[in-house]
């Protein structure tokens, strides 16, 4: 078995293809996973496929020993009791503040209204960023198409992930501030990290060799 007896939760989403490629290189058989879009649990391989934002939940509660998900997810769910063991390096993108191309899109509302309105899928990351820079912000949580929010006047700025910046440009937005660099990370359940130490260390060692 490729995962050495460990159960690993992998993200269906943007990181899915590269995660499967990584598992291939580790010698896992991902054929069944690639062929079954609807099946979620692959017991023989020791793999669960879940939403990226659910990976920390499965790992924290011990349904999986290990998990792979984006740093953006981990930043937003910072209260999760999981180990962050390894930076897998792929899926690179950046968490940023973007706003329409205007003279002072963040400063102007702060001066005139005392508050800047920010739409985001990452309310905690956004709130922490504005609080830590001493600015009052009203965080508007949206579930998708964040870029739309400033265009429609819902907000002054957005906090979102960007890889190439193309979606921002297409919606007339300009990056204003960088918050964090995000890549795929390997996480572990704290109890499994102790009780299955040898297996987990062997898994991480193979990842380090591959990198």
């Amino acid at each position: 078995m490729s995962t050495g007896g460990l159960v690993i939760a992998i993200p269906r989403g943007n990181l899915f293809a590269e995660t499967l490629d990584l598992l291939d290189r580790l010698g896992a058989s991902t054929k069944e996973i690639r062929e079954n879009e609807r099946k979620l649990v692959f017991e023989d391989e020791g793999i669960l496929t879940v939403r990226p934002s659910d990976v920390p939940t499965y790992v924290e509660h011990g349904a999986a020993d290990l998990g792979i998900t984006g740093k953006d997810v981990l930043l937003e769910q910072s209260e999760r009791e999981v180990y962050e063991l390894f930076d897998l390096g792929y899926g690179h993108c950046r968490m940023i503040v973007a706003a329409p191309a205007a003279a002072d899109p963040l400063g102007e509302p702060l001066r005139r209204r005392g508050i800047v309105r920010v739409a985001t899928k990452y309310p905690r990351v956004a709130a922490d960023h504005f609080a830590s820079t001493g600015r009052q912000a009203e965080i508007v949580e949206v579930k998708g198409s964040v870029e739309l929010a400033p265009v429609t006047g819902l907000c002054d700025a957005i906090v979102d992930l960007t890889a190439t910046g193309r979606t921002l440009t297409e919606n007339g937005l300009v990056e204003r501030e960088a918050i964090a660099e995000c890549t795929a990370r390997l996480i572990a359940n704290p109890v499994a990290h102790k009780l299955k130490a040898a297996e987990i260390d062997a898994f991480v060692a193979r990842l380090r060799e591959l990198k």
Binding site: Y83, E84, V191, L195
Partner: protein, 327 residues
């Protein structure tokens, strides 16, 4: 119409309560049998008392004012009130003291985390016995109590709360740089920790030590892999291991050199107890040689607490394992 209870609290019905009561009784019998007399402290303490024991008042989340304007806090940790009790009631008593307790503690929890705000802790405090002999007595008693409760696969992760601080000091890391590193270790973010260590520009040997030591877990062989800068802590852990071997529980020990515990009063050996069926630690504890001195006479001490409801979960898993089900 349903009348809600506050998030993080719950009602317990007879079937479960019977089992929880039975579990508490069994743990209590083991503690009393070893000479640990039960004490009771108030559920509300002056907030100052909790703050004297831990700068963040041990995570106290519920406060009120009394009729004189004093701030009271719901007990968030059982050990600090017992340190107060010992200072008040056992001043000048030179002999060692063995105390146990079963009490609810209350913490605030992060929004939506599903964690308990009210939880039942059962534990022991051993006061007046320094170093590995005290640590080993407490650890062996907790492991024995769990066996008595019917668990068979439990383990103790054993480390030293000052170990990483000693490493940072030995590597001459400037004082103001240490806190962020400890913070990363505390948050279990080993990726960030490695990046922070890399930025310090240390010698390759020092860098290697600061990155690899927190990830060392396993049998006594992991102690061989840390160098002289940790001699004191490593010597303590070896001695503790030897004493646990004499008590025939050493096969349950996993050394964990990256272990840190939440409360700030620990001064040396720390540990956590695990069962493979439960994804969270069942409990833990450690040595707190400075805590009693904050309330009165300075005396060495070590203690441990178990989350009774989590131990119950492990019991249920053990039962279903024994009856051939999946744990």
């Amino acid at each position: 119409m349903i009348h809600p209870v506050p998030p993080g609290t719950r009602d317990v019905l007879p079937d479960e309560m019977r089992e929880l009561r039975d579990l508490s009784t069994r743990l209590h019998a083991v503690f009393e049998g070893a000479g640990y007399g039960e004490v009771w402290t108030p559920a509300i303490e002056y907030e100052d008392v909790l703050r004297r024991g831990d700068e963040s008042a041990a995570g106290a989340g519920f406060r009120l004012f009394d009729d004189r304007g004093h701030v009271l806090a719901l007990r968030s940790d059982p050990t600090i009130p017992i340190a107060r009790l010992v200072a008040n009631r056992y001043a000048g008593v030179p002999a060692s003291l063995r105390l146990c307790y079963f009490a609810h503690a209350y913490r605030s929890v992060e929004r939506g985390s599903g964690q308990a705000r009210e939880f039942l802790q059962g534990g022991i405090e051993l006061i007046g016995i320094a170093g590995p002999p005290g640590d080993a007595e407490v650890i062996a008693l907790v492991l024995g109590a769990l066996s008595e409760a019917g668990l068979s696969r439990h383990r103790v992760g054993l480390g030293d709360g000052m170990l990483y601080r000693s490493l940072l000091a030995a590597a001459d890391v400037p004082e103001d740089e240490r806190r962020p590193l400890l913070e990363s270790l505390w948050r279990r973010d080993l990726v960030r920790l490695e990046a922070q260590v890399d930025r310090l520009g240390l010698s390759p040997a020092a860098r290697e030590l600061l990155v690899t030591v927190p990830a060392l877990r396993g049998g006594p062989e992991v102690l061989d892999r840390v160098d002289g800068s940790l001699a004191g802590a490593v010597e303590n852990l070896r001695e503790c291991h030897e004493l646990l071997r004499e008590r025939r529980v050493d096969d349950r020990v996993i050394f964990d050199l990256g272990l840190l515990r939440e409360l700030s009063y620990y001064t040396g050996t720390i540990f956590e107890v695990y069962d493979p069926a439960v994804a969270f630690a069942l409990g833990g504890g450690g040595r707190y040689d400075d805590l009693l001195g904050r309330f009165g006479e300075a005396r060495p001490a070590c203690g441990a607490g178990l989350d009774v409801q989590r131990v119950h979960l492990a019991q249920l898993a053990e039962e279903s394992q024994a009856s051939g089900g999946t744990a």
